[in-house]
């Protein structure tokens, strides 16, 4: 199954591997056929350790110790044992006889005091605080060589008047340039000023002209309007007077025969009356009528009474006649 083995050089065009990376193989399933790699997800592999590993018991990778390892250990043990044995076999001083003691003695030329006490003294050392570093002395090299002197006389190095010319030229040139600039600026300003002034003058007098014409127009239109208004007034007045005259004539004519008509109507309405006649009518006649009424009333009453009397009489006579009739037929039947 491991068709891709170590040392397989597979060129991808970009990269060559001495050992091509390959995924972890899943546990071999003997039943299935192996045509290609069947790799499983490494996260779900049972062989992968999960979680913290600092508290785990680390089992040795193999259950049995490696035989080579054990061989080495055995050899080591044997070597140490051998050394021990040799140490013991070495010649040592024999044990002291009875009543005697072994003492260590120095046999060198000069005796040394061997003691465990080590003489120790305390010693302190401290640099002075705030001590400035002393200034280094001036390094004056030893004098060597010959003494030589020199002096520059006037006029030897350079000629001042000649040398100062270019500097002066530059200075003067710059000053003049600056001055020219300022003068030009002022001239420009003056030019602008003059232009502005000319414009202002033109503007003023054109303005005056415009205003004058405006005023003229205004005056003319006002005048015209006034004239027109006047004319209208005149016309209106004429019309009014004409109407007044016409109205006057008409009223006169109308009123001419109004007067007799009025009089007649008034008279017919009884506004012109004779007071005596009125008085007679108002006072006398009602009384007269009332009296007449009374008299007539009396007559009526009298007539009525007469009527009732006659009625009574006739009824009585009728009754009598009826009685007579009842009597008379008897009489007649006989």
């Amino acid at each position: 199954m491991a068709s891709s083995s170590h040392g397989h050089r597979h060129s991808n065009g970009l990269y060559t591997f001495s050992s091509r990376p390959r995924p972890v193989e899943n546990s071999r399933d003997p039943s299935s056929e192996r045509a290609e790699y069947n790799y499983g997800n490494i996260m779900y592999d049972r062989r992968v350790v999960r979680g913290n590993t600092y508290a785990r018991h680390i089992l040795p990778t193999t259950a049995q110790p490696d035989p080579a390892e054990t061989q080495k250990q055995i050899i080591k043990k044997r070597a140490t044992a051998r050394k021990q044995a040799w140490k013991q076999l070495r010649l040592t001083t024999p044990v002291a006889l009875q009543g005697r003691k072994h003492i260590d003695v120095q046999t060198e030329l000069y005796l040394e005091e061997l003691s465990d006490n080590i003489v120790a003294t305390h010693k302190e050392c401290q640099t002075d605080a705030f001590l400035d570093k002393p200034s280094t002395p001036l390094f004056i090299p030893a004098k060597s060589g010959k003494d030589v002197g020199t002096q520059i006389e006037e006029g030897e190095l350079f000629d001042f008047d000649r040398e100062v010319q270019p500097v002066l030229e530059v200075l003067v040139g710059k000053t003049v340039e600056q001055a020219l600039l300022e003068v030009m600026e002022e001239e420009e300003l003056a030019c602008l000023n003059a232009q502005q002034r000319a414009f202002e003058e033109l503007r003023h007098h054109e303005l005056a002209e415009v205003e004058r014409l405006q005023e003229q127009e205004r005056r003319h239109t006002e005048e015209k309007e006034r004239r027109v208004a006047q004319q209208k007034e005149v016309l209106k007045k004429e019309r009014e007077t004409a109407e007044k005259i016409a109205a006057r004539a008409y009223t006169q004519q109308y009123l001419a025969d109004l007067l007799p008509a009025v009089f007649t109507s008034l008279r017919s309405h009884g506004y012109f009356h004779d007071p005596v006649e009125k008085d007679i009518e108002m006072n006398f006649f009602p009384w007269l009528m009332a009296e007449v009424d009374n008299i007539l009333e009396k007559r009526y009453i009298a007539r009525e009474m007469l009527d009732t009397i006659i009625c009574d009489v006739t009824e009585k006579s009728l009754e009598e006649f009826q009685e007579l009739e009842t009597q008379s037929p008897r009489n007649w039947q006989i």
């Binding site: 002209e209 004058r212 005023e215």
Partner: protein
């Protein structure tokens, strides 16, 4: 080396270094640095670098300094900065205007004069005039104060004040009119110095453009003074006075008053006196012609001018196109019949 100037570094480091020196506590040191800066600012390149480097904000503190010479030097520096349009725009857009206006009431006169110079330059720009419009009442107040102490040395301040006012009024004359400008300027017309008179007449000319101004000019006692100024020695004063008369004569009341004050012969005299080739008297001729045109619309004026028609006709053959046109209009108006 010059002891009144601080040393200047080389190349690009000159301006930043000097500005850094301005923070020092000693006033003399600051003065020296300011003097060097004033010299340097005449160069447009350095000016551009100063403005774009945003160094002008540091001048804010200097404007409130205790030492008056430091303050006046700072104003001089600003005066140089406003010589170019980029500087003007920077000053207008920065917050330097309020401290500047405070300096107007400063105790030292050189400081005041420099401040006024700065404001004057700013007012020449239309955007600047717009920003300075709110200052006009304050400036008028200052003029009034100047009136009280009638000294010769206050002239330069007056001239600067008046020219600033006239520039602002060019944009909008109403604030100046509202603070009683006409009568104040009328008083200034009688000052000794010709510059003051010239500037006062110029401001009056601006103020008399709106109708309200014209009416005020006619009502006040200003017209006789102006007509007196028409015979002044200085050409500019005459020109400006003629301009005011021209504007005032447009409304009917102005016409009547001018005729009443007998201004026509004066103007005609001015016309005939000017030599014809003089460039600067062109404005005077134009204004006089226009004033005469306006006056000719009134019947009284027309009658007077009909007699003087040949004089006007002579001006129609003048070399300059504008004068010719103005003269032709005048002749046309004079010979117009309803």
């Amino acid at each position: 080396m010059d002891s009144t100037r601080a040393p200047v570094a080389f190349g690009r480091w000159d301006v930043p270094l000097l500005f850094g020196r301005l923070q020092q506590p000693e006033a003399a040191e600051r003065l020296r640095s300011l003097a060097s800066l004033c010299d340097l600012m005449r160069d447009p390149e350095r000016l551009y670098r100063t403005v774009t480097g945003g160094f002008l904000e540091q001048l804010l503190d200097l404007l409130k300094d205790e030492d008056p010479s430091v303050r006046s030097r700072t104003c001089e520096l600003l005066h140089l900065v406003t010589a170019h349009s980029i500087g003007r725009q920077a000053v207008l857009s920065s917050s330097l205007l309020p401290p500047l206006t405070q300096l107007l009431d400063d105790s030292s006169s050189s400081c005041r004069i420099n401040t006024l110079r700065v404001l004057n330059r700013l007012a020449l720009l239309p955007a600047g005039a717009e920003s300075l419009l709110y200052l006009v009442p304050q400036l008028m107040l200052k003029l009034q104060q100047q009136d009280k102490d009638d000294g010769d040395d206050g002239d330069e301040e007056e001239v600067l004040l008046l020219s600033t006012i006239s520039c602002c009024s060019r944009l909008d004359a109403l604030p100046a009119l509202a603070s009683d400008g006409v009568s104040l300027l009328g008083r200034k017309l009688t000052r000794r110095s010709p510059e003051v008179r010239r500037e006062a007449a110029a401001s009056l000319m601006e103020l008399s453009i709106p109708v309200e101004g014209k009416r005020q000019v006619c009502e006040g006692a200003v017209l006789p003074v102006l007509i007196g100024l028409l015979q002044d020695e200085d050409l500019d004063v005459r020109t400006n006075a003629a301009g005011v008369v021209m504007h005032a004569a447009i409304i009917t009341e102005g016409k009547l008053r001018c005729l009443h004050l007998d201004v026509v012969p004066v103007l005609l005299d001015l016309l005939s006196r000017q030599p014809e080739e003089d460039e600067r008297s062109k404005a005077l001729v134009l204004y006089s012609l226009r004033a005469l045109t306006a006056l000719a619309e009134a019947p009284g004026g027309r009658r007077l001018l009909l007699e003087q028609l040949p004089l006007l006709a002579r001006r129609t053959e003048d070399r300059d196109r504008d004068i010719r046109r103005a003269a032709q209009t005048a002749v046309r108006v004079v010979t117009w019949t309803p």
